[in-house]
């Protein structure tokens, strides 16, 4: 088996044992990026030279000091801070911004022996579902270069799908890990809110953002989560409860588990191929001896509306710091202060970001706060209750990830609402804080991948991963790669 066909678990295990060198692995993936990324456009910045240097250091480490991700090349969505490397968030306003500190997840990856190979493309400030909102370039879906990879972590999903890296990190505020994972045919995990530190993750909507891995298998997702998860004294919203040995718990028996299927999961607006894949997935789980139960989640029909009111409100505040004073872009610098700030933000932000800042500003403004922001917060509570009630009876809920497979580049750019509605199945996990994972669940008639999604109980990533792993033992969708990966 060639290197790129191997999983993250295989690569790091072999490197730790000395059967592979970190330098060779790093060079091999760097070469793949060099050769294939011009067509895919997954990366914004490559970090080949520092990565190779780091790999050589790792190769020199004695066996006892080698970490759980020893020698594993990874890519990071360009919204995660790495000291000394540009962090653009896909935005002109941060085009030249270089962080002076590492995100906690970066320290954790480094401690575990991973090699950071580059930064991946994304929708500007993670606002979007297609990566078309990047200020720099459009990332293509490796399965069909005329289609979007999904978003906002489209660069990370495309990079893993084309096997340009064995694993990547993304961020998920309303589905931004799971939806591109689904559209690119890879595995994408959004951990429970608070399971992974957000320190150094540039904020979009602070009460919803969460970092997670994109990989080619559940086994690899568990491996990365184990390295990333845990409390952080720099993040007051990070959970203090202990983490679990996720990768060692994968093989547990799934027979006693119960899976909830919402009665309206495949209703209106769901593509027939997605519906078929979803129903096949239900059958697969049933064949594993898992009890399937119907659940109702009535408040979730309002999840998209609720989400766009809350997320934009938080975003309007989080993005206020880009004012041309301390870092990042400044234009009209000889004009009065107000003009400088207004022009800087006009030039620095793209249309979708402006749209959301305006909506969020409105939602919080005097006279509308109660009717929109606070009302949405109450609906958020109701959505939480629906899930709580469901989880009294089941261990996880099965949903489609995206109502459709990847759409064509340019198809939805002028219709923001239809773009927002692609998040309909992913948003609830962000609103409730629950963990969720998207798994490759089949292919549409035109060959594009389709994802299915499991939503778990808070902090019960173990069960979620166990179910996902069992599904991947019974199917081989996750083993398929696009033709471009083989060239």
């Amino acid at each position: 088996m060639t290197l790129w066909e191997q999983s993250a678990t295989e690569i790091t295990t072999k490197t730790r044992r000395g059967e592979l060198s970190a330098e060779e692995t790093t060079r091999a993936f760097a070469d793949r990026i060099e050769a294939l990324d011009p067509a895919v456009g997954a990366f914004l910045d490559r970090m080949t030279e520092p990565a190779l240097e780091r790999a050589r250091e790792l190769d020199a480490l004695p066996a006892a000091e080698r970490g759980a991700l020893h020698g594993l090349p990874v890519a990071l969505k360009d919204i995660i801070s790495v000291a000394g490397s540009r962090c653009t968030c896909g935005s002109r306003i941060l085009e030249d911004y270089v962080p002076v500190y590492n995100a906690t997840v970066v320290d954790r990856l480094n401690d575990a022996g991973a090699v950071i190979l580059g930064k991946t493309n994304m929708d500007e400030f993670a606002m979007g579902s297609s990566t078309e909102n990047s200020a720099f370039h459009t990332t293509k879906n490796p399965w069909n270069l005329n289609c979007v990879p999904g978003g906002s972590s489209g660069g990370s999903a495309a990079a893993v799908a084309a096997r340009l890296v064995p694993a990547a990190l993304g961020t998920d505020t309303g589905g931004s890990i799971r939806q591109p994972a689904s559209l690119c045919g890879v595995t994408g995990l959004k951990p429970t809110y608070g399971r992974v530190s957000r320190y150094g993750l540039v904020a979009f909507a602070s009460s919803l953002d969460q970092i997670g891995p994109l990989t080619t298998s559940v086994e690899d997702a568990a491996l990365l989560l184990e390295a990333l998860a845990g409390d952080d004294s720099h993040d007051a919203t990070c959970a203090t409860r202990p983490t679990a040995p996720y990768s060692q718990e994968l093989g547990g028996d799934v027979k006693p588990l119960r899976l909830g299927v919402p009665n309206a999961a495949t209703s209106e607006g769901v593509d027939p191929d997605v519906r078929a894949a979803f129903e096949a997935a239900v059958a697969t789980f049933a064949s594993l001896g898992i009890a399937i139960e119907e659940v109702t989640l009535p408040a979730t029909e309002h999840a998209v509306a609720c989400y766009y009111l809350l997320a934009t409100a938080e975003a309007s505040s989080n993005l206020a710091r880009y004012d041309g004073v301390r870092y990042g872009l400044r234009v009209s610098e000889d004009e009065p202060l107000r003009v400088m700030m207004g022009d800087t933000r006009a030039r620095g932000f793209g249309a979708e970001v402006k749209r959301r800042i305006l909506l969020g500003t409105f939602v919080l403004s005097s006279g509308y706060y109660d009717a929109y922001y606070q009302k949405a917060q109450r609906v958020r509570s109701l959505i939480g209750r629906d899930f709580e009630k469901a989880f009294e009876r089941v261990d996880a809920v099965l949903l489609p990830t995206s109502p459709t497979p990847a759409f064509r580049i340019g198809e939805k750019v002028d219709d923001p609402l239809s773009m927002y509605l692609t998040d309909i199945f992913t948003i609830t996990a962000n609103l409730t804080g629950a963990p969720a994972i998207s798994l490759p669940g089949g292919f549409a008639s035109d060959g594009l991948p389709i994802g299915i999604q499991l939503v778990g109980k808070h902090f019960d990533e173990s069960t979620l991963l166990r179910l996902g792993h069992a599904f991947q033992q019974a199917t081989d969708f996750h083993k398929k790669s696009p033709t471009i990966a083989e060239t």
């Binding site: 002076v100 990042g328 500003t361 939480g384 902090f459």
Partner: protein
């Protein structure tokens, strides 16, 4: 409900310090009107007596008290390094267009 006209958009843009062209204002007015029209559906929900959620895990009783920090200095950043990334550094300060005192 609030109708989004261009004047409304311009007022919000002023508050958010984003300068908009006339074309942008018109375009956003239409889009925001549509998005907000969709979001109106949450009004149909009866939320009497429902506590608003601002921290999902806390309200769900899953995470406890606020995490506090000890009052111990942890060191600061190197000023020159930080100012290097500033649009207009000088005299150890972040310079901005003159603000009237």
């Amino acid at each position: 409900m609030a109708d989004f006209d261009e004047a409304q958009v311009r007022k919000l843009a002023e508050l958010a310090h984003v300068k908009l062209s006339d074309d942008e204002s018109a375009g956003f007015a239409g889009q925001l009107d549509e998005i907000l029209g969709y979001a109106e559906r949450i009004q149909a929900h009866d939320t009497d007596g429902v506590v608003p959620t601002s921290h999902a895990l806390l309200e769900a009783g899953l995470e406890g008290a606020s995490a506090l920090r000890d009052d111990e200095p942890t060191g600061s950043l190197d000023r020159e390094q930080v100012l290097e990334g500033a649009p207009d550094p000088g005299d150890g300060l972040f310079k901005v267009p003159k603000v009237l005192p």
